[in-house]
């Protein structure tokens, strides 16, 4: 896959409308543009892209936590109802 193809895919994701990942794809595309213009060293670009992977992992864990929180609220609500019946 060439750099242009990767940037094309990122641009497509950025325009896909997903509120979280569209912004994320757009940010990565900007990093690639800044790397191409020589504003960062190769090692710095590598580290920033590794950060993007770490941020994705954080988003995944946060999403699971948010799901559990909603489920917890529902379970406690059911227990309250059960105790009141």
């Amino acid at each position: 896959m060439t750099l242009d193809e990767i940037q094309g895919q990122l641009a497509a994701m950025a325009n896909a409308g997903d509120p979280t990942f569209s912004q994320f794809a757009n940010d990565i595309n900007q990093i690639v543009e800044q790397a191409k213009s020589g504003q960062m060293s190769g090692a710095e670009v590598k580290e920033i892209l590794a950060d993007a992977q770490r941020q994705l992992a954080i988003l995944e864990d946060a999403s699971q936590l948010a799901f559990k929180e909603t489920l917890n609220t529902c379970i406690n609500g059911l227990i309250t109802i059960a105790c009141a019946v």
Binding site: M40, E44, E47, R54, I58, D61, L65, A66, E69, I75
Partner: protein, 134 residues
Amino acid sequence: MKKLFVVLITLALNGCALYDAYMMTGYDPNEYRIITEIRTDAYNYKHQCPNKVMSEANAMLISDKTQLFEFYSEQIPGNDNGTRASKNLNEIAQGLKTQYQNGTAVSPLFCKLKFTSIENSAAVLQHVIAGRPR
């Protein structure tokens, strides 16, 4: 009717996801405080990246705080997702500290992107920590 509800809920809790959700870690004001400090620091520090002396000092300060957050999170029972996320956040901050410690020139753009990554990730974690059962 009441017994039926209790039995149904007890049976449902055998499901692993439901059990995890029921037993999940509650709201911890100390955890919330630390993640809010990390987010605020990163927000302020990203504007100081053009100043090399200050940005190096800031990198050390924030990496200490993300390390504190990781250590604090990892011993909280039933907090697997939180622990993993705190480790990733700390790795982002340690990466900036390492760049300065290596003695290589750190570009202001790299510094700004690092603090922005920390700020954004801390905001995501702050949101879920605030939403924990109280």
